[in-house]
């Protein structure tokens, strides 16, 4: 599960645009693009070698402008929510460039008669529009590329963050098993060592199985259903030692042995059942049933309710909220949870599509 975080599925283009190892290629393709644009204009506008000089100057100028846009204006203005300022800066740079070119043309090229083009006003106006257009052709895609790259990286990061959060949340949810139970059982063993050492040893074995399961198996992504049932049996056996007039049964049906399930999925229900069936004066019971049929797992947990009703505490029910959250995270839509309650019994029906 953890390795999947980095394997966020990307197609070739997304990968090319966002991965930093292709940076060199980005720059080369940009320079080729500008070069191609300038070289396609094969008209002879200037005398002698001046076509080459002017084109070289234009090339440097445009590349400079594009990098200024991509590494200064876009990150410092556009990404920092100063879009208006960015547009102003862009307009400023465009006009500035235009008048710079114009002044070069009229102060150097024309006085020295290096240019063929005759001078007229309408031509100048058309020139300005054309110039703006060319400028947009260079600046637009570079800005667009930067935005796209940023957006793709952000989405990717948000996605990874969500996944990591969900995973750590899952880890946390798994670990919420009652410490009160542990201390109580230890106290009981303490008594048993004096009265019934053999039974004390049995209880300790069960307890060690139980803790081993919680510490090691529950960290795995999936475990065998058998192991989970074994864990529940240990838990209920330990519960039985703590209580008078308590009985439980666990029944299984179908192909239980080969099923893989997420760990500690059922224990919150069983813990709840143990907690709310507590009755020192009358008989209490918990019946569990696991049935696998056509890769659907039916889990039923029935418990008795005491004569004197325990008032539901507000702090209680955390286990149940947790398990609902886990079911949503793991099974999404592929589960149903149904809780029935009457005067004397409480019944949980959980259905999982394996």
């Amino acid at each position: 599960m953890k390795s999947k975080i980095n394997d966020f599925s990307k197609d070739f283009l997304t990968n090319f645009a966002t991965n930093r190892k292709y940076r060199g290629l980005h720059h080369i393709s940009l320079i080729l693009f500008v070069l191609g644009f300038i070289l396609t204009d094969t008209k002879k506008n200037y005398t002698g070698n001046w076509d080459i000089y002017v084109n070289a100057a234009m090339f440097n100028y445009f590349v400079g402008i594009i990098y200024l846009n991509m590494y200064v204006l876009v990150p410092k203005l556009l990404f920092r929510e100063r879009a208006a300022l960015y547009l102003f800066a862009m307009a400023g740079v465009t006009l500035g460039t235009y008048f710079f070119f114009l002044s070069v043309e009229y102060s150097i090229l024309r006085p020295y008669e290096l240019i063929h083009r005759p001078f007229n006003i309408p031509d100048m106006m058309v020139n300005l529009l054309g110039f703006c257009f060319i400028f947009t052709v260079f600046i637009g895609p570079s800005t667009f590329f930067k935005l796209l790259q940023q957006w793709m990286r952000d989405t990717n990061r948000i996605h990874e963050l969500e996944k990591a959060t969900i995973e750590s949340e899952l880890e946390q949810l798994k670990k919420q098993v009652n410490p009160h139970f542990l201390f109580n059982t230890l106290n009981n063993v303490n008594v048993l060592t004096q009265t019934d050492p053999e039974r004390a040893s049995q209880v300790l074995t069960r307890l060690s199985d139980l803790i081993r399961f919680q510490l090691y198996d529950s960290v795995k992504e999936q475990i065998f259903l058998n192991a989970d049932i074994h864990f529940l049996t240990d838990y209920l056996n330990l519960e039985k030692i703590r209580r008078d007039n308590f009985e439980f049964s666990i029944s299984t049906k179908g192909d239980i042995a080969n099923q893989l399930i997420p760990p500690l999925l059922f224990i919150p229900f069983v813990e709840n059942a143990a907690k709310y069936s507590l009755d020192s004066e009358n008989k209490s019971y918990i019946y569990l049933s696991f049935e696998v049929e056509r890769s659907i797992l039916y889990f039923v947990c029935i418990n008795s309710k005491p004569d004197k009703k325990i008032k539901p505490k507000k702090s209680g029910g955390l286990g149940l909220a947790n398990v609902k959250r886990r079911l949503e995270l793991i099974y999404n839509e592929k589960y149903t949870l149904d809780i029935k309650e009457d005067e004397n019994t409480y019944q949980v029906n959980l259905c999982l599509i394996l």
């Binding site: 009981n188 703590r242 008078d244 004066e281 004197k308």
Partner: protein, 86 residues
């Protein structure tokens, strides 16, 4: 001194019973698993000292305590988590 132990957990009762037996002068009359059973017991027997678990399902331990004050019975509260501090 006649005493009883009230605890909902069988092994906790047993453990408390063992501790009580170690102390000379204490006579353990009964171990009971609920406040109600204890109340019934105390209707007929005179009890000087009660070891009472405060965390029990059903009738609250405090309620039985009120009744015992009238009879000048001593009550020692405990819960299973610090039982050994008795």
């Amino acid at each position: 001194m006649n005493c009883i132990v009230i605890d909902d957990e069988p092994l906790a009762r047993e453990g408390m019973g063992l501790l009580v037996k170690k102390i000379k002068g204490l006579n353990l009359l009964a171990s009971l698993n609920s406040a109600n059973a204890a109340a019934k017991f105390m209707d007929t027997e005179s009890v000087d000292l009660v070891f009472l678990d405060i965390q029990m399902p059903g009738t609250n331990g405090y309620r039985i305590c009120q009744k015992q004050y009238q009879e000048n019975t001593l009550v020692i509260f405990h819960n299973s988590l610090c039982r050994n501090m008795l």
